[in-house]
């Protein structure tokens, strides 16, 4: 596949007081790829997502999506450009119904006004696609974790995302659910021709679904390559296991 950069993160620094959360992150995400992001706790993975989605502004550096500079955009603009995310600690709109949850990004995604009825039809389709149709009228906080994670996926699709940032969608799922989630992700990626960036701790899954894996440690990318290359990288082993074991 010819690399076609869709998202370019260039030398992004983010400092909270004395803490360097991001320390010169450089990363290119190609169109249509499934990129796995791993790294120890506190490496800056979620912070990187927050910078991409405009929730945090970087101290310096640039984030370009499809030629647009994202660091100057507000989170809602970035969403309308086609960047959507899910949250590590799932955050569906708790007391809205599952259907309403998915309708929120749909009614906001175009300049053209989408009517409530039209939006609900699109939302029903997406719920059907992720397997939540029977829960459409149930309040989101009544669903189990796996289903709430699916709401977040459907919501990202509802935003008309071209790139989806998944923050540990597998965390907390049991083995059966994690496999189901991985299959669903693969299928959705194909159907909606998505580019996926996926933070994940579950090595078994991330090593099988990713086209490419990058490793973040202390706010910088320390390794980048195919899952096999990354697993063999001594620097990565050091970051995870410490000097004496690597």
């Amino acid at each position: 596949m010819q690399p076609d950069p869709l998202l370019i993160i260039d030398d992004v620094h983010l400092q909270f007081g004395g803490v360097r959360a991001l320390d010169g992150v450089r990363l290119t995400v190609n169109s249509g790829e499934f990129l796995g992001v791993i790294g120890p706790n506190g490496a800056g993975k979620t912070t990187m997502f927050n910078v991409i989605t405009g929730v945090l502004s970087p101290t310096s550096g640039s984030v370009r999506f499809d030629g647009r500079e994202l660091t100057k955009c507000t989170p809602d603009q970035i969403c309308r450009l086609g960047v959507a995310r899910t949250y590590q600690r799932v955050r569906p709109f708790a007391r809205l119904t599952v259907l309403q949850n998915v309708m929120v990004p749909i009614i906001n995604r175009d300049r053209r006004a989408i009517s409530i009825v039209e939006a609900s039809e699109i939302a029903y389709e997406l719920l059907n696609r992720v397997g939540l149709l029977s829960y459409a009228d149930v309040e989101a906080n009544r669903l189990n974790l796996f289903h709430r994670k699916k709401i977040e996926l459907a919501r990202a699709l509802g935003a008309g995302a071209r790139i989806v940032l998944l923050d540990e969608v597998m965390a907390g799922l049991n083995a059966v659910e994690a496999d189901a989630a991985a299959n669903l992700l693969r299928a959705l990626k194909n159907d909606f021709s998505l580019t996926v960036v996926c933070i994940e701790h579950l090595m078994r899954i991330i090593m099988t679904v990713s086209d490419r894996v990058v490793v973040l440690d202390r706010g910088a990318v320390i390794a980048n390559g195919t899952p096999a290359e990354v697993a063999d990288n001594p620097q990565v082993q050091r970051a995870y296991l410490g000097n004496e074991y690597a």
């Binding site: 969403c79 990004p105 669903l143």
Partner: protein, 337 residues
Amino acid sequence: MHAQQSSWRGFAIFAVIVAVCAILPYTHVPDFYIQQAFSILFFAGLAQSWNILGGYTGYLSLGHSSFVGIGGYTIGCLFYAFHWSPFLTFPLAAVSAAVLALFIGVICFRIRGSYFLIATMLVLFIMQTLANNLPSITNGADGIDLPLFTSDFSEENRIWFYVGLGLMVLTTLVAFCIERSRLGLNLMAIREDEDVARTMGVKVVHCKAIAFMVSAALAGLLGAAYTYRAHVIEPTTAFSVEMSAAPIMMAILGGSRTWIGPLIGAVIYVAASNFLTLSVGNVFSDMLFAVFLICVVLLLPEGITGIFARLRAKPTKAEPPSGATTAMGPGSALHPV
């Protein structure tokens, strides 16, 4: 869709009740009740208007009476300065309240939760101080007297009853439409999680500003009616904490998530407080009323309409929809509401 059907049914019932109420002044109902009805209608409208920002959007304002006051002072001052008829300047009450809301919003929408509550309360005190200290415009603490428009007592009562009814219906229609609109869905998303709403494409500031201005404009109209009916406006009653707190308690009492809640809340609130005043006298009634409100908040956190919602939700709980039989992992326990 389930919820939407029931919402239309609710609106049909509301329309019937309004139609029945509209005949009341022409039956043999004593004047006293017609007079009391105005206060129920006024507070129902006020609670409804507060709920647009407080209930749907989740921004609790303790300064709602700022808009009642500015609405009243708009017609009052224009009469005081130019002798313009209060009936003609009514729409300006809505405009000035909306402008004030926009101004407050620019400053206060950066803060959330209890900080927003406190900021709006401080705005209320600022307004009261201004009204007291700008005698050339507001006639200071003496206030402004407004003319009676008819000397016939029951005719006057009847007119105000219909004005109150009209304003209550107007605010309810606005709330009903917002609730079913894209704006309403965005507002509810903001209430649930403002940061997530923003990353889902919601223009948060824009939506909050519209909600605040609509809420304020309606309160401004109600304030103008309230003031003209009282034939007087002065700073302490125009900008009062009581007037700000009442609609909050009504909306919470009835349930702040639907347009029905504030209406039910207002009726019960006014009825209960009048009943207590008549039966145990002024001294203990406030205390008993406070106990009553605390009980409601403790026992019915979702308000009275929350009971209906819970009853409707029961079947889903007993019999989960098909597809719920996926493997249940450690994190998959049904989360309590």
